[in-house]
Amino acid sequence: MRILYFAWLRERIGTGEEEVAVPAEVNTVGTLVAWMRGRGPAYHAAFAVGNTVRCAVNQEFADPDAVVRDGDEVAFFPPVTGG
């Protein structure tokens, strides 16, 4: 699964992009976020419960219950601030 990070998430995690192999029980955005928290201090801080983190699966905005599968591109980022 390809994971992308933008804005302060990218800075806090220290990379904009990585390939991850997730366990079988990680099959939604919500379970992916919970799994991310356990990957180390930087991930724990970035995905802390109080942070507002948005997600897109295959370039579409996605809710916590959206399905994620091997081969998907999953992006995490703060609420958008363009315009």
């Binding site: 933008f6 302060w8 579409e60 905005f61 992006a75 958008v80 601030t81 363009g82 315009g83």
Partner: protein
Amino acid sequence: MASIRVQTADFDVSAELAALGAGRQDIGGYGIFVGTVRGNAHGHAISAMTLEHYPAMTERAMARIAAEAERRWDLLGCTLIHRVGVLLPGENIVLVLAASAHRQAALDAAAFLIDWLKTAAPFWKKERFASGEDNWVDAREADDAAAARWGALTAS
């Protein structure tokens, strides 16, 4: 029909108007919004603004917003340009241009387009203060409210 661009270069509003209106006689008015970098935030001077985006998603999100505007109003053309990279105070950030036979459609569509660009397109702004500190701009509840008054996006 919409012309959608993400670019580091500046844009020229007159040139975009000319491109959209070239050879046409059916347009009665253009509603336009130009967003620019302000030189201060929360009372502190800003030396630069950096715009980051999610390239694979950005143009798709912008095209969806434009398609929704074209569904809601009788538009004869629509141009969306969003700059990325490092921008200085006073510089242009975004151009929204909606053309219609009638002014109200053009103005309403322009307002809709900028409201939704601010809340549904994957751009992020980082302010650099004159002090040297950086700050990722927080999303504003007022922007969500402004977009929400148009109802949900129905384009898929």
